[in-house]
């Protein structure tokens, strides 16, 4: 194909952008079609209405529903599969991004699990309410008033409600207990399961034998409270997972593949070696490749940390994730050869991920300590009462079971999930997405922050600096307004007056812009093309403006810090953390940024492996490290650090590797998240302390055999409510 047709491509690109969705449409049994896609940019109720309303006005659409929590839009229509493309176009024309999404299977299993938990919770709640109705009667009236027959009736009704409930709603615990026992290990679900089953069985036994007390209410209440904790925990994890799959689906976007001189849209993961892919201006390269056609500039800042765009032409290598900014190009797909940059980085990331796996969550640590203690206490109570107490084995067993119930970790089960759900919810309102469940816990323990420069400390785009002659600036801005190059955009953006009318504007990719003004040729571009090549070199990025034969004017740019960078770094320092900056950029650029935001330690000109070595050095020295970065070059460090954060502007791979993602133009979410994490951890520890205090009081009573069903119920719900109330202090603190 001729280069000329390549540069005509933007028009074609427009019409292409919604093809390919028909392949993803699913045919339903009744001949209709359905399609699920991810919609980006939904942030309010009006967006839901705009999208659903527009789709419902289409003739064939039967139903369109947008899940706000997950950003997933499902459409269902009669007619042809091809209509999928029209519908996607409708949504895109409203200004939303549409991304194919095919993790439907995983989605439905997680949804089933959530429904299952809710169902168990609902049944347990129903049973608890009804048994309590009877239990309150049993507690408040002695058997003389009530009459033996009525007591028996109440016990039997309780049994009829409780036993099926235990079998039904206890399944989440039984399953998990069986699973770990099969592996020869133990977790908190083992004493819970034993406690529940034994309580049910013994209470049934007691009912048959006309015993005074039965504990159906305790068993069901235990299930109910623990299921609340389980459900919260699941919600937190599900939220983390859906954030992660949302990011993954961006990776599985489409690429424009040139085949038999026709352009097709293929999912990125289906690309094969030697295919030719067309990358429009403003599009990211989907794969590693070699340029075969066209001349352009690419923004590699996400990969190398370099702020200046680089010129590419025939034969240049381009990497996945780099942004093509100037003109359309064609690239030949290279397989992930062992020596590509991406392969290096992926290898480093895998290595990093392995090193991180041994982290044990505080809840699991507590469970490890807790389960043996509970089991041995219960066993001791049984043997002790049997041997020294001189009572029959049924009574001894009942005491052992009450020990098991009353120490059963209702409060422990709620301690972490409730705080976590509240904390992630609060952070989400502040545009911080927590991707992994234990990220906040790990974040609370750090002492060092590694910060990437470009795109993290800085905004990642250049800004004009210095003062210029008004006329030159106006002329340069007029010309720059025609270009999408980052320097041109910065130049055009810094001038807000009226622009000159130019004629014959031409773009020379890799060199600059050319136009005619008042009969004179005007050029704006690189030093070699229209600048003064003898001028001294310095660290700034530059553009040159030349008008006919006049002396060229130089415009310099620097990457500006985010508005609140210095304040955030200060805040982190006040929190007792050591900030360290790592960047792939030049020494001079690094030192000025480090100085401006008050960072004493910095490392410039670091390749991805270098950055990783710095991290390893810190970790071997015993430091706990938070990494904040946005580029491909940061990805291994993000994966390997104790905990990591990436801005929403980061490349997909960095977002995938990071535990926490923050949106917006500011760096302040980093400090906010750290503070929230510390407070969250404090609350979790307090909750554990509350649970332990409660046990210290309750265990002796249980061991003494003094616990009646009412005391067990009060103790259990009391401690759970206390823990929940304490967790809600997170809400109060802003």
């Amino acid at each position: 194909m001729e280069p000329a047709t390549v540069s005509d491509q933007p028009d074609l690109g427009e019409s292409l952008s919604t093809e390919g969705f028909d392949h993803l449409a699913r045919r339903e049994k009744d001949g209709s079609y359905s399609l699920s896609v991810m919609v980006r940019g939904v942030h309010c109720a009006a967006c839901i209405q705009k999208i659903e309303g527009a789709l419902r006005r289409e003739d064939h659409i039967r139903d369109a529903r947008l899940n706000y929590s997950t950003g997933r839009l499902s459409m269902h229509w009669d007619g042809k599969a091809q209509e999928a493309n029209d519908y996607v176009r409708t949504v895109e024309s409203l200004g939303f991004g549409v991304v194919p999404y095919d993790a439907a299977e995983e989605e439905s299993t997680s949804q089933q699990e959530e429904r299952f938990l809710l169902l168990c919770l609902g049944v347990a709640g129903f049973a608890m309410g009804n048994i309590m109705l009877l239990s309150v009667g049993l507690w408040s009236a002695s058997s003389e008033i009530m009459g033996l027959a009525t007591r028996e009736l109440f016990h039997w009704v309780s049994a009829i409600i409780a036993l099926p409930t235990i079998l039904f709603s206890g399944r989440p615990f039984f399953r998990s207990a069986v699973k770990v026992l099969a592996k020869g290990q133990t977790n908190m679900d083992v004493p819970i399961s034993i406690g529940i089953i034994l309580t049910g069985a013994m209470s049934l036994f007691g009912t048959i034998n006309h015993s005074e007390y039965v504990y159906f209410d305790s068993a069901v209440m235990l299930i109910f409270f623990l299921l609340i904790g389980r459900y919260f925990d699941f919600r937190a994890r599900k939220h983390a997972r859906s954030t992660a799959t949302g990011l993954l689906s961006a990776l599985s976007g489409f690429a424009h593949v040139l085949k038999d001189s026709k352009i097709q849209r293929l999912p990125v993961r289906d690309l094969e070696e030697d295919m030719t892919v067309r990358v429009m201006a403003g599009e990211k390269c989907p794969v590693d490749g070699i340029v075969t056609e066209g001349r352009s500039e690419i923004d590699t800042s996400l990969i190398t940390g370099e702020t200046l765009p680089q010129v590419i032409e025939n034969g240049s290598h381009v990497y996945a994730g780099t942004m093509n900014i100037a003109a359309p190009i064609q690239i030949k797909v290279m397989k992930r050869a062992e020596d590509t940059l991406l392969a290096d980085i992926i290898r480093l990331m895998e290595q990093a991920g392995q090193g991180q796996a041994q982290y044990v969550r505080i809840a699991d640590r507590a469970a490890r300590l807790y389960t043996p203690v509970v089991h041995s206490l219960a066993a001791l109570a049984f043997i002790g009462w049997l041997v020294f107490g001189g009572i029959v084995w049924q009574e001894a067993l009942m005491i052992a079971i009450t020990v098991l119930i009353i120490t059963c970790p209702c409060a422990l089960g709620l301690a972490v999930p409730v705080v976590q759900v509240l904390a992630t919810g609060k952070l989400m309102k502040n545009n911080v997405l927590v991707k992994s469940g234990d990220a906040l816990e790990r974040l609370a323990g750090i002492d060092t922050v590694l910060l990437d420069k470009t795109g993290t400390l800085t905004a990642g785009h250049p800004a004009l600096q210095g003062d210029y002659d008004g006329n030159s600036l106006r002329l340069a801005a007029s010309l720059a307004a025609h270009s999408t190059h980052p320097l041109s955009k910065a130049l055009a953006g810094s001038y807000d007056g009226a622009l000159y009318e130019l004629s014959d504007v031409r773009d020379h990719p890799g060199r600059g812009m050319e136009a005619v003004y008042k009969g004179k040729a005007v050029r704006l571009g690189s030093r070699t093309w229209c600048g003064d090549e003898t001028a001294p070199q310095d660290e700034w990025m530059e553009l040159w403006l030349s008008v006919a034969d006049d002396k060229p004017v130089r415009f310099t740019f620097s990457d500006t810090l985010r508005a609140d960078t210095a304040a955030v770094v200060d805040e982190l320092k006040n929190g007792g953390l050591t900030p360290v900056m790592v960047t792939g950029d030049r020494q001079s650029a690094a030192s000025s940024v480090a100085q401006a935001c008050g960072i004493k330690q910095y490392h410039a000109q670091q390749t991805p492996p270098d950055k990783y070595k710095i991290l390893e050095g810190l970790k071997t020295a015993g430091h706990k490290v938070l990494m904040v970065g946005d580029g491909l070059n940061d990805a291994p460090v993000l994966a390997g650090a104790d905990v990591s954060m990436a801005p929403g502007s980061a490349i997909d791979m960095a977002q995938n590797a990071a535990d926490i993602i923050f949106m917006g133009d500011q760096l302040s979410p980093v400090a906010l998240t750290y503070k929230t994490a510390c407070f969250t951890q404090k609350l979790v520890k307090q909750n554990f302390a509350l649970a332990v205090v409660y046990n210290i009081i309750a265990i002796p009573i249980a061991l003494a055999g003094l616990v009646t069903p009412m005391i067990a119920a009060l103790a259990m719900s009391g401690s759970s409510l206390l823990v929940i109330a304490n967790s809600f202090r997170l809400r109060l603190k802003t």
Binding site: A45, G53, R56, N67, Y68, S69, L118
Partner: protein, 51 residues
Amino acid sequence: MSVLIYLIPIALFLGLLGLGAFVWSIKSGQYDDLEGAARRILLDDDDDNKN
């Protein structure tokens, strides 16, 4: 106390009714998008002619 013969079944029936409603709401997907539901209440749904 004989009134309990009626009261207990009534209480159980009402409870089961509630449970039934809850199960129905789960099955029809009303808990799948809690965030969205919170926002949909603000929508003016007059122009949704097809639903």
